[in-house]
Amino acid sequence: MNQKTLFDKIWDAHRVHSIDDGPDVLYIDRHYIHEVTSPQAFRGLEERGITVFRPSLTLATADHNTPTIDQHLPIKEELSRIQVDKLKENCSRHGIELFGLGHNNNGIVHVIGPELGYTRPGMTIVCGDSHTSTHGAFGTVAFGIGTSEVEMVLATQCILQTRPKTMRITVDGALGKAVTSKDIIMHIIALLSTGGATGYFVEYSGPAIMALSMESRMTICNMSIEMGARGGLIAPDETTFSYLKNTKYYSVNSEFENDLKKWKDLITDSGASFDKEITISAESVRPMISYGTNPGMAVAIESSIPETEGMNNHDEENYVKALSYMGFRPGMKLEGHPVDYVFLGSCTNGRIEDFRAFASVVKGRKKADNVTALLVPGSKLVEEQVKKEGLLRILHDAGFELRQPGCSSCLAMNEDKIPAGRYAVSTSNRNFEGRQGPGARTLLASPLTAAASAVTGRITDPRTL
């Protein structure tokens, strides 16, 4: 009796109160903030004349609009500089820990939280950023919030939230050669569409998921939002525990064995039921690439862009409009299409494993002359590790430069913009119109596909190199 999903266990343990016919008051264990979605929330507190309720549970970083070269110099863009300064001022006034620009722990919020050990199983985690779902890889209920909600958490460590429905996506079998977790999640999003999981919180399970490293699990959970899901999570296991044991947090905190005991119950009970269940086989997943202007518009790299047959007039109009933005036509083959830019990085694929994958492909090869490459580590720790493992040497020998950490070209708030009309094979998460710069054409793919395309100068299936 009373069999519960992992999501339900965590949600219920954090419910302070349920409003009749209304949302739940949900307690938040970890709150991450950054420079772009927090200033208005701090201003709200000041207007109310109150302080931060639990400053030790909020952690701040500067990542969204920061430059990825010459970080030791003042930020050139005035409004960005003001936002970063404002974050510093707000954190110091309210006693919030900040890993700002230049700090050894600085980096993209969804990269540093996990790698430093601030994200731990069983927690509720929020941040004013939709890719907060990333932290679900550790068995947490983690989701993105708006700035009004950031203010709620600063003011009370709680938010008002309607309980979402639950969905389980089971991935059976094992992945083929050169197929990555990025391809699994892009395959799922293409299957469900960009709004297909709206209203749901997803649990990913099955042998193909549990065989993945923590970095790969984070890539999966990260893109949950791209099918509309409130978040995505994976039950913690030995892979999770050994990753956590090696984080900075547990190197100075002796609580690991104690905490470990609490994490063992963080699984979905065998008789628990979900509102929706989907099963896919890992063998059916191929290296994926997007061709349109939302992440649901993606196909296996060897396929052609779908034809319009069977669509109604309205859908066809929307579809053709998206393809025309991309400079594509229905039925066109993607493989072999020239590429202008390659972006390796972001909270989706900016971790050490992604740099290892990229380096493994470009090793002994040369960057194509027609390609401009932006290789942006997700954090200072990733940057250090790339150097320590000798990957930087491999990248340099192949004609690539490494930039400094930040969100960079994923949303192009800083100077790392893709010019109008140019094609970018990007390891990031969104291919919306203008996402990587006004008029930019984004082709989402895995780090292996990005690397293969960077050395050939064309969209290239990594299995063919």
Binding site: I145, E149, F432
Partner: protein, 200 residues
């Protein structure tokens, strides 16, 4: 802090027959470098509305003088993508008070309700009917009554009820704020923390 109240509204509509309108279209990231909540309406749908030199693009609905009003009628999955509340601030600052669609992205819907913007959900075919109607007859007015959860199109004699969480309905009608509600619960939140053994 009190917000603008929304109970009765009668207005013409602006039709936007595009699906999956993401928040990068509503307000591109390069306009997020502000530390205040005001002024985002100028850049609402920036890259659909203006060319790269800032000249209005003729084909876009907001540049068509025939269409105006406080109600935006949009295709399904409006507001998908990023969590940026700036998207809601932009829609609101431009002058809209209601967005009608067959469904909204979750974060956008929460953000809208936290700012007094009503995300009104109708069945997809009714959204399409309304879209066709207001496109052909821009003078069509729509009446919305939040208290009665009713939307009425007098010229066609149609009316529907819409769903809204009763708590959020009350917040809209009386201009109440979730943050005030939570601040009043601080004592209870502290008790919750003590019960589970302090901060983690």
């Amino acid at each position: 802090m009190a917000k603008e109240k929304l109970n009765l509204l009668e207005s013409t509509c602006v039709p936007l027959p595009v699906e999956n309108v993401d928040t990068d279209q509503i307000i591109p990231a390069r306009f997020l470098s502000s530390t205040s909540r005001e002024g985002f309406g100028d850049n609402l749908f920036r890259d659909w509305r203006f060319d790269h030199e800032g000249r209005p693009l003729e084909g876009f609905i907001l540049n068509n003088k025939k269409y105006s009003g406080k109600i935006l009628v949009a295709g399904k999955n409006f507001g998908c993508g990023s969590s940026r509340e700036h998207a809601v601030w932009a829609v609101y600052d431009y002058g809209f008070r209601v967005v009608i669609s067959s469904f909204f992205a979750d974060i956008f819907r929460n953000n809208a309700l936290n700012n007094g913007l009503l995300p009104l959900i109708l069945p997809e075919h009714e959204v399409q009917n309304l879209m066709t109607l207001v496109t052909a007859a821009p003078e069509t007015t729509v009446k919305i009554n939040v208290m009665e959860r009713k939307i009425e199109i007098p010229s066609s004699g149609k009316s529907f009820t819409f769903e809204i969480n009763p708590y959020k309905q009350e917040c809209l009608i009386y201009g109440l704020d979730d943050i005030d509600y939570l601040i009043n619960m601080r004592g209870r939140i502290s008790d919750f923390e003590k019960k589970r053994g302090g901060l983690r």
